[in-house]
Structures are given as structure tokens and as C-alpha cells.
Symmetry: C2
Subunit: 122 residues, 2 copies
């Protein structure tokens, strides 16, 4: 039968330490589930074709928009609609689960040293 | 600007008490995020076209397959691929977040008293 393994978020998050580098932990319906750790300020960017969900597994971060900031705590998520500029800022390390199409590039319309073009599955 | 409200899972889960009746809490990329409470045994069913993700927010439940059972604890998820028969069984109440296409019917290929055809957004 197909792979029916469960995924334990804490176990997967223990496998890496770097920031702003998402790992793939699930694939379904053309979408992916990713885990990532944020610390510091990311780059302003947007995704023209994809909505993105950010769910806080542990910690807290600010999702900055051009006209407001939304502080996300553990157990909360936000959906950033396609086309909306945003920048995650984490004053301390935060662990985040992402739901988004498999096509998403982490820095969206921007390519810089934070861009991770090829993501691993863990 | 578009709706950029965050969603607090615990606050949303406090809004309903019934079992096996998912509520929609997010829409993105043709997919939906739903919250549901399970208690007892559901019905064996499958989804022919859709993969389904079950993430445990609080509690524990067993995902039964025809050849095995996977016990899911808080902080764990499983992806049930399309076409795979499954039955959630919760010995005590469990709170679950679902991520699946907007087209999913909770009982899949089965229609009975547990079927909820029209889901509310909360």
C-alpha cells in the first residue's frame, strides 16, 4: 500500500536548525506542507499566483503588510492572498508550518541570497 | 485591502461542540482548512479524487485503514491519499484540523446520517 506514515512536527523540526529554509513534509493535491524556522527579517515579496498559509507551531512572529502588521502566536494561522506584499519578521526564533502550492518559491517575485529554489523533503 | 485576519484555532474550536461536523476556517488555492471534533467511530469511506490531511490540534485518535491502524497524537498529521479507505476512531474527543480540496464531502463515497453536505465558515 502507499505510504501511510504519520508526520510528527516536533521530530521533523529537530532535523534542521537553519532559518528561512523550508523543508517539505507532505504532498497532497498539488499542494505541499512545509516546515520552516524564521529568525530576523525576511525580504518584502509577493506571490502572483499562489495563496500561502502560515501556521505557528511554536513561538511568535509578525507578518508585516504595507499597511499593517499582524502578530501571530502559537496555534494561529494567517492566509496571505496571492498578490499581497508581505514580510515575515521574527524577533526570536519561531517554528512555522506552511501550506501552499508546490510551485511556490519562498521569496516570490524577488530572487536574492534568501531564495531557496530546490527544497528537500524530510 | 483583502481580509488579512489571522485565525486562532482554539477560539474557533470553542464556537462549536458537535462531532463529525467540520467548519471551514480558511480558503486558499481551491483548498480549504477545516476544524472538526471527532468522538466515537466514523464510517468507512474513501475519496476518489482528493487527498486529505488530518492534523491533531488536541487529543488523540486512531486512523484505521483496512490493513493497519495509525494512532495520531497532538502535533502529528497524516495524509490519506485519494482512493484509500479509512475510518477515524476517537476513544475520547479530539480536535482536528483538515486540509483538503474544497470539493471534499466528509463521508466520501458514502452518504448516510453522518454526511454534512453544506459546511459553514466560522
Amino acid at each position: 500500500m502507499q505510504n501511510l506514515q504519520k508526520v510528527n512536527l516536533a521530530e521533523k523540526l529537530a532535523l534542521f536548525q537553519d532559518h528561512w529554509h523550508p523543508r517539505i513534509v507532505g504532498d497532497l493535491n498539488g499542494q505541499q506542507v512545509k516546515l520552516v524556522k524564521f529568525q530576523g527579517k525576511f525580504v518584502w515579496h509577493q506571490h502572483d499566483q499562489e495563496d500561502e498559509l502560515f501556521y505557528v507551531v511554536r513561538g511568535q512572529f509578525d507578518m508585516e503588510f504595507r499597511d499593517r502588521t499582524v502578530t501571530l502566536n502559537q496555534g494561529e494561522f494567517i492566509i496571505v492572498p496571492r498578490g499581497v506584499e508581505h514580510r515575515p519578521v521574527a524577533h526570536q526564533e519561531v517554528e512555522v508550518m506552511l501550506f501552499e502550492p508546490a510551485s511556490v518559491l519562498n521569496t516570490g517575485n524577488v530572487q536574492n541570497e534568501l531564495t531557496v529554489a530546490q527544497l528537500e523533503s524530510i
